[in-house]
Symmetry: C2
Subunit: 397 residues, 2 copies
């Protein structure tokens, strides 16, 4: 009846025996992962370069330091049992050093190394027989010209590393643009590759969680709606014919098996007008397209990531309602990371508002998201978009 | 697509403008409230007497100190906008001091004062026309004898303050036991009252959330199954005839209105064989019988508590599935607060395991809970009880 009082019986130091999870990176992905891990009894420590990160409030402890410094990572790893990442750009060499010392790192460093280089990632997928758009590495402007000639226009020139949200990508629409695209991405100072533009009609995605033992849990196929290369809306499930859904799901699982993934992974795919599917890109971590799983599925991508890397059984990925919609909340301007209009958003029945607690807003910065579940897609879409429209960050309001 | 990297753009101190919530008490109720508050963008600070409390990992900051010390509470209140409690035994005088300084305290100190004295609570409920079992304050053993004679046997002698989980209660089954019951509860050194034993068939409960503006959200009626005065299982919704459900719900709302409650409140009721309902007890805080609302209802009792005390609109209380069952995880012995058998529990599809992260287990101590939602009560009950049966705390395994 009265459980509060028992907090006074005993609360002493010494968490010995709890599983200790270290997360490299302190953003919203780490925050949501930390919340899921704590609920399963894990102690969570976050490594972030700055104080006051979103995850610092969800974790038991935060270590401030540069995650690309092997000495910092080694010190971090000494206090935990399992290390995972929220950021695919962490130095694999630094992670490999702690892995060599016997600390479990998931996803494994071979998987991360393979995935960080987008060209190697594509080669691996193609090698596993998965459909990807035609691509090739290019190490000179002449090679680029030749490859674009072969692949056809439009084509997309990309950096092999560190691209995100459209950064590190240049679309080449005519032969005239080859030279400038080459210069724009560093004129060969950074490794590049080029791929044929995929004339997709829709973008679909899913989350695949794979355990250390190879067991796989796969989430419903969703449709992602992007603007300016940033995900805006996720509709779950995707409105695709069953055979497309099954094919996409099989492709996603095969892709994560091909890279030897352990943990939760985002798999983005292109769907063309003739129902062809191409793997676009894999993320070696929980993914924005899976945020809806917190309320929309029995076990979220975050909890399943923790289950996977701790060696625990994976949770059920079935949806809790016929439809779920997630809408990202992007900052409109630089300013304090405080939501305006929150009360209006909370008046929308069934809208689940997630504010990430970032100290500062920036234009286009992901500041939070809203998820709504519903008996129909129309209902969920209406609730999520109305609530999201009420909230702004960084504006003077 | 890649949101992780933006954690590096800016993460500086200065959370100015976020709503700052102070929670007095650092147990599991504070922890689950803190998680809900953080998701809505609040900064959360916890006041607890010991380090390493369950809530310390869910809050942005923890202040260590005695919450009954007005000086400590004043310092605590200086850093927050709104103060709430997870523990109904906090000194109301100390809270009143900070309320007088202009810091919002919810529930208000008049409400807390009224509820902390169980006799005053009963008088208030009776005064509002709500059915309660016959009761009376007793200040001498002769008065006790006389009152028991009037109310009939069995009767229950109770301390007016600080009773919980059966502590501070003695059942008097025959006239011979009056004298010993009186001595057992301090022989008049502490204020006592006596009530007629209610021959209930079932215990039902609900959570009522009431806003500062008086608006009310009420959760489904649930059945609670107790053993040794501790809640073991909560079944939502209660299997009661519609007219009973409606009557119980109306009574619960009237009870919280009668005490002027703001926030989420647990309302426990007795249901007799002839479908009579009596209010048993109110808790001025989120309640164990509402833990299922995290997964089982659109908006949890914790989020609604935060919405209420922040002056935001209340969330929808409808269930996300036809049935939900919560089973408490109690410690079996003193020992480290680490769950054994977690992997087996996680293998039960749809079981949501919540480990509170207490440093130490104790026999009968609430260490966590399991919730399962299902298409039928049988399904939810099976999943929740199987998963809960797999987990032990404090035993040698």
């Amino acid at each position: 009846m009265h459980e509060a009082f028992d907090s006074d019986i005993l609360s002493s130091p010494g968490h010995g025996g709890h599983r200790r999870l270290g997360i490299v990176g302190g953003g919203q992905l780490a925050s949501m992962t930390a919340a899921a891990a704590r609920r399963l009894g894990c102690d969570v420590v976050v490594l972030e370069r700055y104080a006051f990160s979103p995850a610092s409030h969800a974790a038991g402890d935060t270590m401030i330091g540069d995650w690309n410094d092997a000495a910092v990572l080694t010190r971090f790893a000494q206090g935990v049992d399992v290390v995972t990442i929220e950021n695919e750009f962490v130095s694999v060499d630094a992670l490999a050093a702690i892995e060599a010392q016997g600390v479990a790192v998931w996803p494994s460093t071979p998987t991360l190394r393979l995935m960080q280089d987008k060209l190697t990632q594509k080669e691996t997928l193609a090698g596993a027989g998965l459909a990807v758009t035609p691509f090739a590495g290019v190490s000179s402007v002449d090679a680029l010209r030749e490859t674009v000639h072969r692949l056809g226009l439009p084509a997309v020139l990309k950096t092999r590393r560190n691209g995100y949200d459209g950064k590190g990508n240049v679309t080449i629409r005519s032969s005239d643009e080859i030279e400038s695209a080459w210069r724009q991405l560093g004129a060969g100072t950074t490794p590049l590759y080029v791929e044929a533009f995929c004339p997709f009609e829709r973008e679909v995605a899913t989350i695949v969680t794979r355990g250390i033992d190879g067991r796989v849990a796969v989430y419903p196929l969703v449709e992602t709606i992007q603007a300016d290369h940033i995900c805006r809306v996720v509709k779950a499930p995707a409105d695709t014919p069953d055979r497309v859904t099954v094919r996409a799901t099989d492709m996603a699982v095969a892709a994560i098996e091909a890279v030897g993934g352990v943990g939760s992974f985002g798999v983005e795919m292109f769907l063309t007008a003739d129902d062809s599917l191409f793997v676009n890109e894999l993320a070696p971590r929980v993914h924005n397209s899976g945020h809806y799983t917190i309320e929309g599925c029995l076990c979220s991508q975050f909890e399943n990531h923790v289950r996977a890397i701790m060696g625990w059984p994976l949770g059920a990925t079935v949806m809790t309602a016929p439809a779920a919609v997630m809408v990202n909340l992007l900052g409109t301007a630089r300013g304090p990371g405080v939501p305006h209009g929150l009360a209006n958003a909370l008046a929308v029945p069934g809208a689940h508002v997630h504010v990430y607690g970032k100290a500062m807003s920036g234009a286009g910065r992901k500041m939070g998201h809203v998820t709504a579940i519903g008996a129909t897609m129309t209902e969920a879409l209406h609730a999520a978009t109305s609530a999201a429209a009420d909230i702004t960050f960084g504006s003077q309001q």
